[in-house]
Assembly symmetry: C2
Homo-oligomer: 297 residues x 2
Amino acid sequence: MQHSWDHIRTFQAVADHGSLLAASRHLGLTQPTVGRHIDLLEERLGFPLFTRGRDGMQLTDKGADLVAMAGEMLCNATQFDRVASGLEERIKGTIRLSANEILGGLLLPGLIAEFMAEHPMIEIEIEVSNEASNLLSRDADIAVRMFRPTQNDLVVRKVRDIPLGLFGHKSYFTRRPAPEALEDLRVHVLLGQDRNPSLITAYRAIGLDTEPGSYQFRCDSNIATISAIRAGIGIGPLHKGMAALWPDMVQVLPEVEVPSLELWLACHADVRHNKRIRLVMDFLADRLREPYAACLF
Amino acid sequence: MQHSWDHIRTFQAVADHGSLLAASRHLGLTQPTVGRHIDLLEERLGFPLFTRGRDGMQLTDKGADLVAMAGEMLCNATQFDRVASGLEERIKGTIRLSANEILGGLLLPGLIAEFMAEHPMIEIEIEVSNEASNLLSRDADIAVRMFRPTQNDLVVRKVRDIPLGLFGHKSYFTRRPAPEALEDLRVHVLLGQDRNPSLITAYRAIGLDTEPGSYQFRCDSNIATISAIRAGIGIGPLHKGMAALWPDMVQVLPEVEVPSLELWLACHADVRHNKRIRLVMDFLADRLREPYAACLF
DNA sequence: GTCGCTCTATAAAAATATCTATAGATATTA
DNA sequence: TAATATCTATAGATATTTTTATAGAGCGAC
């Protein structure tokens, strides 16, 4: 009896993630199972694929020679799944959305609640991450992005622009006078991010060239940053539509042109005819075009 | 949980062989197992891959859209196995030989007996068939052929030419006088083959243009044809070296030039460094170059 | 040093898949 | 018309695989 193709999948996952444990999590198996798959495969091939170290599994030379083909199989398998998903006509089923923290954490849940009431047969998962998840490897079915998705074979739709403005909480301005010109911002608490350079770039774009060190409050979490603004810690950029939902938010320097963000929807070309995906895409495109209805904060 | 890659393999096999039963034989599984694989796959995908008829399983349109990717996976998987086999360094193991009826049935067993005495760790299988088996899909590790193998990615070695001559059994010539010129053959019983045109072509090559109907004894089996010659039924071509092992065989028209056959060995490039395969290849190349030692007849 | 984290390896219990055997249905052959 | 192929579908017994739970070893932080 030959070895199973599943063992090759396991092999590829272990090679990719570097350890049995990490691979097992991604495969939805347990670590002993993954370990046994590798053991069996090695036994049948007659040579070791990995060296077992304390810090995981490292490919041997021979293992490295084989991993390319396993990778190709993975490509074909994911394409198989994608195409199959595109051929699928049932309404019932699951859709995975990928979105960044702000959209996925604050905005989408409200919209999805509405959608689910209309379509109880469709189950929806949201993957909240600021990393652009890979639609090609089917980490998600639909991506909601703040920039134009660039991968090939993607069907993308620009929904609209998202105008930004600089905002601070009313309470903040009881302590400091609101800035009247761009230079005044230098003496204010500016809320940006730690490692993610997108807001810093935005500040530069409006003519304020500050170094990361000059931000008094820094946090990687977009949500925490927004909370900080609402808590009156300082001034920072917000979606205008979102700020409009919160009383007590005061826009400063409204004449300053903060470059708008763009709102994009994307799905893989192979799945664009899937009814569920169409349904969700159309719904999102429709609702996201409207002003923000509610932020679940 | 996702579906198994093994189910995709099963899907591809069923699509390829047209029925659960045929696929199960090729996969080394049973028919109910193969059927359940397809059922599970269809259930997870949400649409049928096959229409079940009395005469097997026929791909639906959607199934046909998916079979290409499954086929690619099969390619990658067999390549995986081939490359793995090439990386393998153990002596112990199995080697599959592919050869035609004459070589595989009469000559190789004697050589292999000798080889096995020297190398008891290596198990050898012979696939005897006049169809050139596919080294790319790993039906065999080594092919012994009477013509130059043409597939790509093959490592081929010409061992030698095999001179042919026309022979008859002594007892035959007690009944009919031996032919003295080519034309005399017309009144003799010529032993050729039924559907396989190779011998007919050979007769044409030496200047004797006879139609298949004029062969009194016809048989698809090369071995039976040789037996017929040895039984004194008529005249036919034999390997000179083989005929030399049998007393009572008389060559006729030795001046007639019968085109020689060629003897080739081939293995896939991916496995050429496999020690077992090298060992067998070298042994065969060595022994096949010598005159025939024994025919197991 | 010790706690907490990573990782691999192993043995018994639980879940799952496979096989054997059989039935039913249709076409081909005698 | 009966016999013999082909094929798929289904149920119970058997094996195999997976999981759960546990141990052991190295590394970094406090």
